[in-house]
């Protein structure tokens, strides 16, 4: 192999292995930043040695051994400095202890290490932005440049966010303990939130005119797949995976050639990715088998699955969707769920049912500037034949939109309501 080929091969191996490397090293040195440095050191060693020695049979193990040697050197040096006035013999004993501890740590399951690294990256001491960034960097293995691009920000901003996050983790000594019992459940919730945040950032870009940044969806799906692979007994992990696999199955169908959003009933279902729907249904079944049918993500996945199973929009089982929303409203009460529930009821039981559920929501302060509310209202009124009111609602929704494609779509719906009363545009 030519040197450049070897270099590419080393970098690819490193990309595949780095999350597990950093995870194993983090357990040893209890410092994510240091673990990352040690992993990088191992990469540098590999880049220097592999061109002459060839790529080893088990490159992952080789990288881990190289990083471990570095870790031991550092620990020894740190001990020596700490205790340079103490007895030499005692220093050596301490050093040996450290080595033994590291060897013991390495024997444990690597999957646990990776899971723990995910828990650390999504630790509640960090801000949601920091959790997302650290997870994409450490677990998904994205470069700082890639993260900056995905979040429409600059590389120094991302780099600084990562540095600050590592510092926060280091200062909070408890961040490296593997969570147990109820604490574990709470921490898992944070992990699932982070993955769903990443997915949604890609699925419904809130900034810019590009409706889908599919790369972020793919990363979130990969994170969900990794999580269910290393935490195979967590029903909500499967619930979340089911939800995002099914939602992602519609990525090709939900934006038209002009960049405008296409609503579910109008999507070309032949474009839905049946492989992802199948994977989503499988993950949902697994969540249910594990006793998690009532989980917030599993319920949302079950709703998405109703759409995924329907061959045409008319085949949609809206009664089941309405009843799933009834349940979801009890599990995670929120104004947004209430609104979606109103939409489901309007489809299952008629626009009057929808309007009745919508009325109290219009009084809620939290939904005052929430675009989907006037958009749904416009739709119910349109179906009721109350075109003038529908038009006003669609226009109100369009005024709230920060996305050109979405705004055009809403204005088009407004225009479909027929001639407007005279309006003055500013």
């Amino acid at each position: 192999m030519a040197d450049t080929d070897i270099h590419r091969s080393v970098e690819t191996v490193f990309r595949i292995e780095q999350a597990r490397l950093i995870a194993g090293l983090t357990r040893m040195v209890r410092d994510v930043g240091l673990a990352e440095e040690l992993a990088q050191d191992a990469l540098v060693t590999a880049l220097a040695e592999w061109p002459s020695s060839g790529v080893p049979d088990n490159p992952g193990a080789w990288l881990m051994a190289a990083a471990r040697r570095r870790a031991i050197d550092r620990l020894r040096r740190a001990k020596m400095q700490e205790r340079k006035h103490a007895e030499i013999g005692r220093d050596l004993d301490e050093g040996r202890d450290a080595v033994d501890q590291i060897d013991a740590a390495l024997d444990d399951d690597i999957g646990d290490d990776l899971l723990n690294l995910i828990f650390i990256a999504c630790h509640p001491v960090l801000s949601p932005d920091a959790r997302v960034t650290l997870t994409l960097r450490l677990i998904a293995g994205l470069s700082i440049a890639e993260i900056a691009r995905a979040f429409l920000t600059t590389e120094p901003t991302v780099a600084q966010r990562i540095t600050r996050a590592k510092k926060t983790l280091q200062e909070s000594g408890a961040a490296y303990e593997a969570p147990r019992g109820e604490e574990r459940a709470r921490r898992l919730t944070s992990v699932l939130e982070v993955i769903y945040l990443i997915f949604n950032e890609g699925y419904a870009a809130t900034a810019g005119d590009d409706l889908i940044r599919a790369d972020l969806c793919t990363e979130a799906q990969r994170l969900g797949r990794i999580l269910t692979g290393i935490a195979p007994h967590e029903p909500e992990a499967f619930g979340l995976l089911a939800l995002i696999e099914i939602q992602a199955s519609r990525l090709k169908a939900r934006v038209g050639p002009d960049g405008a959003a296409i609503t579910l009933p109008e999507q070309n279902r032949a474009l839905w990715d049946q492989l992802l729907i199948g994977r989503g249904l499988e993950a949902l079944a697994r969540a249910e088998t594990l006793g998690g049918a009532d989980g917030a993500y599993a319920l949302q996945a079950a709703i998405a699955a109703c759409h995924g199973r329907a061959r045409t929009a008319a085949d949609t089982d809206w009664r089941r969707i309405a009843s799933l929303y009834d349940r979801l409203q009890e599990v995670i009460p929120s104004a947004v769920v209430d609104l979606n529930r109103a939409v489901a009821h309007s489809m299952a039981f008629g626009h009057e049912a929808g309007l009745a559920l919508l009325a109290p929501l219009e009084q809620q302060e939290i939904l005052r500037d929430y675009l989907p509310l006037p958009a749904a209202k416009g739709d119910f009124l349109y179906r009721a034949g109350r075109y003038a009111e529908a038009r006003a609602a669609f226009e109100a929704a369009a005024a709230l939109s920060r996305n050109a494609a979405e705004r055009n779509f809403l204005l088009k719906r407004a225009a479909a309501c027929g001639p407007a009363r005279p309006v003055t545009l500013e």
Binding site: I16, Q221, G229, L251, R279
Partner: protein, 119 residues
């Protein structure tokens, strides 16, 4: 990107009855590794071509032929669909697979057309 990873048939796979439990277990371990890395989307093995059929097209004409088919190297014995970052990652994962056949064999990696290819 998505790739189809194609295990090419050999004389052995063409003559094979049911796959052996030990081989399945070995492949299961590799699949587990792929799953934990978030790479594996789906996988399946194909029965020998003696159970297959071919439909040849020539203008409006359709001619059906029964298997087995010659040129086992050109036949498919099984496939995976993977989600990987690039072809280099797919190659790296394939290298980690044990030889799927008793004798010399070949695995082919083909990228699947994506929405972005048409943008």
């Amino acid at each position: 990107m998505r790739v189809m990873v194609i295990v090419k048939a050999t004389q052995d796979s063409e003559n094979m009855g049911k796959p052996k439990a030990a081989d399945l277990a070995e492949m299961g371990r590799f699949n587990d590794e792929l799953r934990k890395a978030g790479v594996l989307l789906t996988a399946d093995g194909l029965k020998p071509s003696s159970t297959g059929k071919r439909v040849a097209f020539d203008g409006a004409k359709r001619t059906v032929t029964d298997g087995p088919f010659a040129e086992s190297r050109e036949l498919v014995a099984g496939f995976w669909i993977w989600e990987v970052k690039d072809m280099a990652e797919a190659v790296e994962w394939v290298k980690r697979c044990l030889n799927p056949m008793p004798g010399p064999s070949e695995i082919e990696i083909r990228p699947i057309w994506e929405m972005s290819d048409f943008a």
